[in-house]
């Protein structure tokens, strides 16, 4: 699977928090993520390094919660990499998210 989700992490989340709750949680992530990406882009445009880092940090944390390793790794690169010269990193992260979100939803609904 290109979205690369750590099944062990995901199923542990389902076991400890409840499968129905995880469906809700994945949907919440899908709803909240666009605002985080918007913040990432606006911080980048405004050269606001701290805001940029925070937005990347939020995405990283959420990705890791679901075991979305590729997304988490890419978000971490942005978090720790400082303000990038261009938006290519954000685009790449967005592309990863667009792949990951449906995969997570599918996984959550079994």
């Amino acid at each position: 699977m290109p979205a690369s989700i750590d099944r062990a992490v995901f199923s542990e989340l389902q076991q400890t928090a409840g499968a129905d709750f995880v469906i809700e949680l994945v949907d919440t992530f899908a709803e909240e993520a666009p605002a985080m990406f918007a913040e990432l882009r606006s911080a980048h445009a405004a050269a606001a390094a701290e805001r940029f880092r925070r937005a990347a940090h939020s995405l990283k944390t959420n990705a890791n919660t679901f075991g979305a390793t590729a997304l988490g790794t890419k978000a971490r690169e942005l978090e720790l990499g400082g303000l990038p010269a261009d938006a290519s990193g954000i685009d790449a992260l967005q592309a990863l998210f667009d792949m990951t979100a449906p995969a997570l939803k599918e996984l959550a609904r079994g």
Binding site: A17, L25, T28, E32, S58, T61, N64, T65
Partner: protein, 347 residues
């Protein structure tokens, strides 16, 4: 168990984190409320009723560090345990959290088993702290407990102006010999209850109880508007209480009690003395010795309440008194002017 059904506040600006933490905590049997930034969290905490805080660090408006700083500065909130959850990297964050008083630090994503263990241990620590606080209050009087909580425990004293009172039951040994041990303890408990009541009502602090005697301080550790007047009023109140107690005892065919009170005003050296493990708030110095001498002198003077010149001068005629002249006390270079306070009985 405190661990069951505690009330927790989960603070995180990220909705997924917030929902997941709240879910985990609820599954552990606790009640949970959530806040999305530090400012809202503080408002909720100030409304009261929370046993523990699960706190994120990076948040807009007010971050976790600022929340902990505010908590530490707030007497009502500084004992609430804080578990920090963050995915910030680096030891510096953890160190700063611990320095700011966090009980624990959990890395995100938070492992629910670890979270459960940390919450349980933090709540248990809080329960012990609360218990300790209650004990300190019971044994050290609330004024000393409040001073301890405010300034922390430090051995070492300071010179402060205060009024010192000594009080004991006249002929207590005779009373003890005439009755059973249970009755003696009951009498002492009644006596202490009445005396504490009178002293605390005037903002005095009882700092020593020995057998049938006690020592109280007015003006330390907490300031009192007029320590001499407060002490004399407490003494008069104590005398009235004893009269009431005696009326009851007379009805039961028991002997009447009489108390002797000595009061002196001046500088005292006040502070916590002892060791780090066991210490007591105490006052020493000439003023303390003089109050003890005056209390002992009540037998000879056949008066209930004796005060020194400094106390008498501070009363400025607001309480009726009678000069007894100068008395030479043991350990005092100069004779001391002694005054008897008029009680209901002597008036």
């Amino acid at each position: 168990m405190a661990e069951r059904g505690a009330r927790l506040l989960v603070v995180d600006d990220n909705k997924v984190n917030r929902l997941l933490l709240a879910r985990n905590v609820t599954l552990q049997g606790h009640q949970v409320e959530t806040a999305e930034n530090g400012r809202i969290a503080l408002e909720m905490l100030r409304r009261g009723g929370f046993d523990l805080l699960v706190l994120d660090i990076e948040m807009p408006d007010m971050d976790g560090f600022q929340v902990m700083e505010q908590l530490a500065a707030d007497k009502a909130l500084r004992d609430i345990p804080v578990i920090v959850t963050s995915s910030l990297e680096g030891v510096a964050t953890i160190v700063r959290c611990i320095e700011l008083g966090a009980d624990d630090y959990l890395h995100k994503p938070v492992n629910p088993v670890l979270l459960k263990a940390r919450i349980g241990s933090s709540l248990e620590k809080k329960r012990l702290r609360d218990q300790q606080k209650a004990l300190v209050e019971r044994f050290a009087t609330s004024a000393v407990a409040a001073d301890l909580q405010q300034s922390g425990f430090a051995l070492g004293g300071k010179r402060v102006p205060a009024t010192v009172m000594f009080c004991d039951i006249r002929g207590f040994t005779t009373i003890v010999e005439s009755q059973g041990p249970e009755e003696t303890i009951e009498l002492l408990n009644t006596w202490y209850t009445l005396m504490f009541e009178a002293i605390t009502a005037q903002s005095g602090v009882v700092n020593q109880m020995v057998g049938d005697g006690l020592m109280a301080i007015f003006g330390a550790p907490l300031p009192v508007a007029e320590p001499p007047l407060a002490a004399v009023r407490a003494a008069l109140e104590m005398t009235e209480m004893i009269d009431l107690l005696n009326a009851e005892r007379a009805a039961e065919g028991k002997t009447a009690l009489a108390i002797g009170v000595g009061i002196a005003t001046g500088d005292v050296i006040a502070g916590y003395t002892g060791t780090q493990e066991r210490a007591t708030y105490t006052c020493v110095g000439d003023t303390v010795n003089l109050a003890a001498r005056l209390e002992a002198h009540t037998k000879l003077a056949v008066r209930g309440i004796l005060v020194d010149g400094a106390t008498h001068a501070a009363l400025a005629g607001r309480v009726a008194s009678e000069p007894l002249g100068a008395v030479q006390f043991k350990g005092k270079a100069q004779p001391v002017d002694v005054f008897a306070i008029a009680t209901a009985r002597s008036a």
